[in-house]
């Protein structure tokens, strides 16, 4: 069964996640093996995902970090004051 490059693109998520029936998987593999644009497209689809996975969470901007720490310390001081204040 023939499959077009557009259909390959539409099915890529199922293909990379292994969610296709075996016959469909084989049809896709055969197309990708014989079609250079689709092979490159698949490679760059993977690279897109991997590049985003590699994006780090940098440290907080220093000014914001200092401000946030101050807010947290105020909250801690306030809540420990409430906890240790005598009843009545």
């Amino acid at each position: 069964m023939r499959i077009s490059c557009r259909e390959i693109t539409e099915l890529l998520i199922d293909y990379v996640e292994g969610d296709l029936p075996e016959t469909r998987m084989i049809t896709m593999q055969q197309h990708i093996c014989g079609c250079v644009p689709c092979a490159y497209y698949l490679e760059t689809y993977h690279a897109t995902i991997e590049a985003t996975h590699a994006l780090p969470d940098e440290p907080l901007p220093p000014e914001f970090e200092a401000r946030l720490r101050q807010v947290l310390e105020s909250w801690q001081a306030e809540s420990s004051g409430v906890a240790s204040s005598p009843r009545g």
């Binding site: 497209y41 985003t52 996975h53 994006l55 780090p56 914001f64 947290l72």
Partner: protein, 188 residues
């Protein structure tokens, strides 16, 4: 012998040190705005440390934190509704009538198996994420920067699984097209 309870004990200091950057960057990318992300981060961290005593670990701490962060960012976005609009080319329009690629597809200098990002490359990816329409960006961020399973994303965004999968796929295709001009190999 170490007390396992002490090892997993979550303190305000630990939340701040280990999780604040994650909250901030998820909010920043969802909202496309540093100042808004600072507001959301402060709100989320205070919400979380206030409730730390009641957190019994029914779900894992990161799962709980994701829920609080996503809810806070979505609520913030609703408050400022109308500030963002993105027009983006549909990647499935890049095919001719017979279903072939309409233009050349080039390899990239960035290979999936050996990715270490330089500073400029990180910025290119951040800029591309920022251009995604919100409905695709949210799913993409949760799937690819937080690496959450589709079922968790469905629950967090209150959409069904097929919608998560369809939006994620469309977002990946858009990202691929946005990144391509920056990473394509030149044979000149």
């Amino acid at each position: 012998m170490a007390d396992p309870a002490a090892e997993t004990l979550m303190t305000p200091e630990r939340v701040f040190r280990e999780f604040a950057p994650r909250v901030y960057h998820l909010a920043r990318r969802m909202l496309n705005n540093d100042a808004d992300a600072e507001d959301v981060t402060q709100d989320v961290l205070l919400q979380v440390v206030r409730k730390l005593d009641t957190f019994r670990g029914e779900s894992s701490f990161p799962t709980w934190l994701h829920r609080v962060t996503v809810n806070a960012a979505l609520a913030y976005r609703r408050k400022r509704a109308g500030r963002e609009a993105h027009e983006i080319h549909d990647p499935l329009d890049n095919f001719d009538e017979s279903g072939h690629h309409a233009g050349p597809v080039k390899r990239w200098t960035l290979k999936p198996e050996q990715i270490v990002l330089a500073k400029e490359q990180k910025q290119v990816i951040e800029n591309a994420i920022a251009q995604l329409p919100e409905m695709y960006r949210d799913v993409y961020l949760l799937a690819e920067t937080q690496q959450l399973p589709n079922a968790d994303i469905a629950e967090l965004l209150d959409i069904n699984l097929p919608a998560v999968k369809s939006r994620l796929h469309r977002a990946r295709l858009m990202m691929r097209d946005l990144l391509a001009p920056h990473f394509e190999e030149n044979y000149a």
